[in-house]
């Protein structure tokens, strides 16, 4: 067996061990070492060279990145998630006909969808969705994300919140929590537009807080422009949009006249 491959797999074993131990710090260290090692394999994307060990290398690389994605969820690091997912993606998309499909694939794809939902990147969400086959769409992980999105769009926020219980995998919980916050932001944005002021009780109910205290912290942290007084939350109306710029009529008239003069003069 290729020494490099051996080295990678040994490292990977150590990484997995640390992962099971939930020693996420050493996991991160090991992971970055692994990534550097992986750059030496020419069979990996974007080169896809046909080396003798191509399949093993691809498989192990894919495995590493899948773990990396899950790790980033565990460490609640969204940027790392995005990075790792993008690096993983070529293994799913471009290496599909070289490798047996990964059991983790749908789980990871679902996670990614959820992440996009959380970050409110709906366009990208749908782009991702378009890339999936109809068979995958039936997969519980994917289906979960799709249903969430639909409820989200309908405005059936309670359904979204209740879906937390039906999450297909433990890793999803992290995103479901984040989702609740996304929903809250959405509601806050809508109410701001819809009302001039709302009573504290209504506001608490609308924003799905269990206590007034939570509401107050939310207001001070996220929307400092809101005012809480006399038992009401007063939204600051968005400032009137500036009127349209005036048309530079004089300048236009002058220009047109000079064109006319030039035209007369030509030839």
């Amino acid at each position: 067996m290729d020494p490099q491959l051996t080295e990678v797999s040994q490292q990977f074993e150590r990484f997995k061990a640390a992962f099971v131990r939930k020693d996420y710090n050493s996991c991160s260290d090991l992971l970055s070492q692994l990534k550097v090692l992986l750059t030496k394999f020419t069979s990996l994307p974007p080169l896809f060279e046909n080396t003798p060990n191509a399949v093993q290398e691809l498989t192990i690389a894919r495995d590493i990145y899948e773990h990396a994605v899950v790790l980033s969820v565990k460490t609640e690091d969204q940027d790392a998630f995005e990075r790792d997912f993008f690096q993983l993606k070529p293994y799913y998309v471009d290496a599909r006909n070289r490798l047996p499909p990964s059991p983790q694939e749908n789980l990871i794809l679902g996670l990614n969808l959820l992440r996009l939902l959380v970050q409110n990147r709906i366009a990208e969400f749908h782009t991702e969705l378009e890339l999936l086959s109809s068979a995958t769409l039936d997969n519980p992980c994917i289906k979960h994300a799709v249903e969430l999105e639909q409820s989200f769009m309908e405005g059936a926020y309670n359904r979204v919140l209740s879906a937390r219980q039906t999450a297909p995998d433990a890793t999803y919980v992290y995103f479901m929590d984040l989702l609740a916050k996304t929903i809250r932001d959405e509601i806050a944005g809508c109410s701001e537009k819809a009302y001039d002021y709302v009573s504290i009780g209504d506001a608490r109910q609308m924003l799905l807080f269990s206590s007034d205290q939570e509401l107050f912290t939310y207001v001070t942290e996220e929307h400092p422009e809101w005012e809480v007084k006399d038992g009401f939350v007063v939204f600051q109306k968005a400032k009137e949009t500036a009127p349209c710029k005036e048309i530079p009529s004089l300048q236009l008239i002058n220009q047109t006249l000079s064109y006319a003069r030039e035209l007369e003069r030509i030839v």
């Binding site: 550097v36 974007p46 896809f48 940027d79 995005e82 990075r83 993606k89 030839v267």
Partner: protein, 1006 residues
């Protein structure tokens, strides 16, 4: 599937955000390979990559990689400036030898950038900060071109970027140095727009040339002439002449001829003066003649020079050192050539011996124009002069003395001046020819001032650009008179003869005439000052301008304006201040001069800035004169690139303003003169039937200029044009203006006995100063008809004249590999019988043709019977015109058949080539067909299809057969000439043998 590709660069882009530098590097290098496909994706991440490039912590290689990547993305985004600046950041990673669009585009961009920076640095004379990295890239590119053997590219880039050091390197390293050098000369003439820089390039080229083991002296001397370095040329010539080898001497003579062709009088004179004076007696004699001829008008110089040339053998006896003798002999020859005398004399002989002018055309014109119409009358005289320019044939005038005597006043002036055109170049006998008309010092011989003034002008025309011998006489005449007509003639004559010499004394004389503030004399003085100072761009221009503002006479202002324009001839940017000053003037006449200044300063450069300015004035000035001139001036700017002109002025030729149309016609005429360019003819054709008379006039003249020497066989429209001219001249109801145009056009079309063309560029693609100036002043005939004669300065003989070592014309055959009919002389017009000549030139009408014409006429009349009588009349006229035309045509063909039958069977196919005998007429279009016969006795020193070519004799000991023996050689015994001179008035006595007859003294019945 071996070539599985990633479908997105997302993975790699994500990797850029990894904290590990090695991962970033990995991602960058892969992205760099994939950028061609995934640049849209990458473009969104450009800020990240940019920050990588700017991150000081990275190692250099990685940052350069990032820069390269960003550069490529910007390239795909079309942001070439950003792309270039990042490519510079990429340092050595930007590989100039890579064969991709990216690299090609960026290299081009880099070179452009560099070139513009460099030229800005030079032009504004300040240090512009040039990115050393940019310079490095361009230098790498140059190195690569040189190592790859692509010298032409390297030279192009080097010239463009003003890197003369690299240019030199490219030339010296190339494998064919001679070839590259001549390529470089071409390039510098056609693409280097700034005059000063062109000079630098040429200086360098001369330097390189001189380092070569076997320098190409012909090219060096051409360069030096351009640089105005007479010293260098003189030393080269001297070296060649001193050489033992006869070939070297031949080469020197050839160089001299080539220099003369460019008509740079001041330069030629200074070269000549720098050559050492020969010691042998004949030369002394010749020189003595030269000098004395100016002071002692009664001594005839004609024979002596010639004889001296012919008889060196006799004088050699006195010498001891044969080397010195040959050297001296050669010096004499070369001085003769440089002074222009040899070539003028040979040209004169050629034009005389090959004169094929058709007197019948003139006769027809003469008979058809009304006697009392003085405009047409003098137009006929002009046409005659132009037709016989330089041929010394004045038969027509001689035969029609009575008719000629109708010319009075200024017409008499121009009639007399016309003799100057006819005898152009008759340097030796010019004085004696004109003697009867010249002012008789103080005696008040009763001659009309008009003919006296005309005679002085004629002398100028005879000696145009070679006025060594006549200057003094003209000055004396100018000083001794205060009649403004004579002053007018003398000023013009002086200007012509001392063209471009910037002679201070003459200038002062002319200036004093100017300050008399007489309109007629002042106008000529203005032009004359310009002629004197051609191309000098002196301070005197501002003096002239000041006077132009002072004086009240429009004529003087106009003369001065043109004069000022002449002084900036060929100065390009150097003239910009003056041009600016003139074109912003309040006075339209000065602005008008400004247009000429633009035309002449940028003549033949096709400079975009000048074209833009002229077009601007052509559409925006308030004065018609200025607009007309602005359009006309385009012709001068564009003559080096005649194909362009019709395209540029085509819109203007459809202008509502007749002045603009006129200008467009002449612009085409000037720039396409003698080319027979099809587009030019198509543009002019509709203008010849314009509604406005003077537009027709301009179009006809322009058409004639374009068609000069084009045979009917190569463009059928030439024949049609000839018939049109004839129709206009014969038509009683035609306007005088267009009639005059038609008469002049027939003159130009058959100019110089059909052996000359109008040429503004010499064979080496230099501007011919005299020709350009000639046409510029000629275009002034709008205001002053006598200036028409200036067109003769633009005529250059289309001849191949081979010369042997003794500057004689040996018999020598060569081949023109084309059908003879393509380039033959136009057929002479048919001989009419005396009684029908006035109406119908063709007398051999068969009855059937007549009947047909009549029937046609009747039918047309009938058809139009219902129409109004006026309409009917015109239709019947046109019908008859048509009938006439067709009748003529058939008459023509009959005549042709007849002659053909006499010569040969008409059916016999035309040979595909013809053998020409030295000296031969070789029209410009024919030049590419000229071939030398293989077993010829003579071999030319340089390969040239026309002009003066020195021949190397391969069989020196055989006796030579000389041609041109029937020519007007000046072998006339000096006694005859002297006698003629002393007898003075009885000029007829000069007629000797087959020498061209000087004209009789015409008696004016005024």
């Amino acid at each position: 599937m071996a070539a599985a590709m990633v479908s997105s660069a997302g993975g790699l882009l994500a990797m850029l955000n990894e904290p590990q530098p090695s991962l970033k590097h990995h991602a960058l290098s892969h992205l760099n390979n994939l950028v061609d496909r995934f640049w849209p994706e990458i473009s969104t991440s450009v800020p990240i990559i940019e920050s990588l490039y700017e991150d000081e912590e990275f190692d250099l290689h990685q940052r350069q990689l990032a820069a390269l990547l960003v550069s490529k993305v910007f390239y795909y985004l079309g942001e070439l400036n950003d792309s270039l600046s990042y490519a510079l950041g990429a340092g050595p990673l930007f590989d100039v030898s890579e064969d991709t669009d990216y690299v090609h585009t960026l290299l081009a961009k880099a070179i452009d950038e560099y070139a513009s920076l460099r030229s800005k640095a030079v032009e504004s004379n300040e240090m512009v900060d040039i990115d050393p990295r940019l310079e490095a890239i361009v230098e790498r590119m140059l190195e690569k071109c040189i190592t790859d053997g692509k010298y032409q590219q390297a030279m192009g880039i080097a010239i463009e970027c003003r890197r003369l050091d690299k240019l030199e390197e490219a030339i010296t390293k190339s494998d064919n140095v001679q070839g590259t050098l001549s390529y470089c000369i071409n390039v510098s003439h056609s693409f280097v727009n700034r005059r000063e820089y062109r000079h630098e390039v040429l200086t360098l080229l001369v330097k390189v040339y001189q380092k070569l083991p076997s320098p190409d002296y012909l090219s060096i001397c051409q360069c030096m002439m351009f640089l105005d370095e007479p010293k260098g040329v003189a030393s080269i010539l001297e070296k060649l002449l001193r050489s033992e080898s006869k070939d070297d001497a031949l080469l020197a003579l050839q160089i001299a001829f080539d220099l003369v062709e460019n008509e740079h009088q001041a330069f030629l004179l200074s070269v000549r003066d720098r050559l050492p004076a020969p010691k042998t007696r004949p030369v002394e004699a010749a020189q003595a003649v030269e000098t004395t001829s100016t002071t002692a008008p009664n001594e005839n110089p004609s024979g002596d020079v010639q004889m001296a040339d012919e008889t060196p053998a006799q004088t050699i006896v006195h010498e001891t050192d044969p080397v010195d003798v040959t050297y001296a002999e050669r010096l004499t020859k070369i001085k003769g050539i440089l002074s222009g005398e040899t070539s003028i004399q040979l040209t004169l002989q050629f034009l005389y011996s090959h004169n094929k002018s058709d007197l019948l055309i003139l006769k027809t014109i003469k008979q058809s124009v009304e006697m009392r119409n003085s405009v047409c009358h003098s137009a006929t005289i002009y046409a005659n002069a132009i037709m016989h320019a330089g041929t010394t044939v004045d038969t027509f005038l001689r035969e029609n003395l009575d008719w000629l005597s109708r010319a009075t006043n200024w017409a008499k002036f121009s009639a007399t001046a016309g003799l100057g055109v006819i005898h152009r170049g008759h340097l030796q006998q010019g004085r004696s020819l004109m003697a009867p008309y010249l002012p008789q010092g103080g005696a008040g011989g009763g001659g009309s001032p008009y003919s006296e003034g005309g005679a002085l002008y004629a002398l100028g025309l005879i000696h145009a650009n070679h006025g060594e011998g006549i200057k003094q006489f003209l000055r004396d005449s100018l000083r001794s008179t205060n009649v403004e007509v004579i002053q007018h003639g003398a000023c013009l004559g002086l200007g012509l003869s001392a063209l471009g010499t910037a002679d201070e004394e003459i200038y002062d004389d002319v200036k004093s005439v100017l300050y008399t503030d007489s309109a007629v004399a002042g106008e000529a003085a203005g032009i004359s000052m310009g002629l004197l100072l051609v191309g000098t761009a002196t301070e005197k221009a501002s003096e002239m301008l000041a006077y132009a503002h002072e004086t009240q006479h429009e004529k003087i202002i106009r003369g001065l304006a043109l004069g000022i324009a002449l002084t900036v001839y060929g100065r390009e940017e150097g003239a910009d201040t003056l041009i600016e000053q003139m074109t912003r003037d309040q006075d339209p006449i000065i602005r008008y001069g400004g247009m000429y200044a633009l035309a002449l300063a940028y003549s033949g450069t096709a400079n975009n800035k000048a074209i833009r300015q002229l077009l601007h004035f052509a559409v925006s000035d308030v004065s018609d004169d200025v607009r007309r001139t602005a359009v006309l001036a385009l012709g001068f700017v564009l003559y080096s690139d005649p194909e362009q002109t019709p395209r540029i002025v085509s819109l203007l030729s459809e202008s509502y303003n007749p002045h603009v149309r006129y200008g467009a016609a002449l612009a085409v005429g000037i720039s396409c003169a003698g080319t027979g360019l099809s587009e030019a003819i198509s543009l002019l054709e509709p203008l010849t039937s314009d509604v406005v008379d003077f537009v027709r006039q301009g179009a006809l003249i322009a058409m004639a200029m374009v068609m000069v020497q084009i045979s009917e066989a190569s463009d059928s429209r030439v024949g049609a044009f000839r018939r049109q001219l004839e129709k206009i001249i014969l038509d009683k109801h035609e306007d005088t203006m267009s009639k005059m145009g038609a008469i002049l056009a027939s003159g130009i079309l058959d100019a110089g006995g059909r052996n000359v063309t109008i040429r503004l560029l010499s064979k080496t693609k230099h501007d011919k100063v005299t020709a350009v100036i000639g046409l510029a002043v000629f275009s002034q005939f709008w205001y002053w008809y006598p200036l028409i004669y200036f067109i003769s300065l633009a005529f250059s003989p289309t001849a191949f004249i081979g010369l042997n070592y003794d500057l004689k014309v040996p018999k020598f055959e060569f081949m023109s590999h084309a059908k003879p009919s393509l380039f033959e002389y136009p057929k002479p017009t048919t001989v009419p019988t005396a009684n029908t000549a006035v109406k119908l030139p063709s007398a051999v009408l068969s009855t059937s043709v007549k009947a047909k014409a009549r029937a046609k006429k009747e039918a047309e009349q009938k058809a139009n019977a219902e129409k109004t009588t006026g309409a009917e009349k015109s239709v019947s006229e046109s019908g008859s015109g048509k009938g006439k035309a067709s009748a003529e045509k058939e008459g023509d063909s009959m005549q042709v058949d007849g002659t053909a039958a006499v010569e040969k069977k008409a059916a016999e196919p035309e040979p595909a080539f013809e053998i020409l005998v030295n000296p031969a007429r070789v029209v410009p279009a024919q030049e590419k067909y000229i071939k030398l016969l293989e077993d010829s006795r003579y071999v030319p020193v340089k390969l040239a299809p026309s002009g003066f070519v020195l021949l190397k004799d391969l069989r020196e000991h055989e006796p030579e057969v000389l041609s041109l023996t029937d020519a007007p050689t000046s072998t006339a015994s000096p006694a005859t000439g002297a006698a003629a001179a002393t007898q003075g008035t009885t000029a007829s006595a000069m007629a000797v043998d087959d020498e061209p007859q000087p004209p009789q003294a015409f008696e004016y019945a005024s």
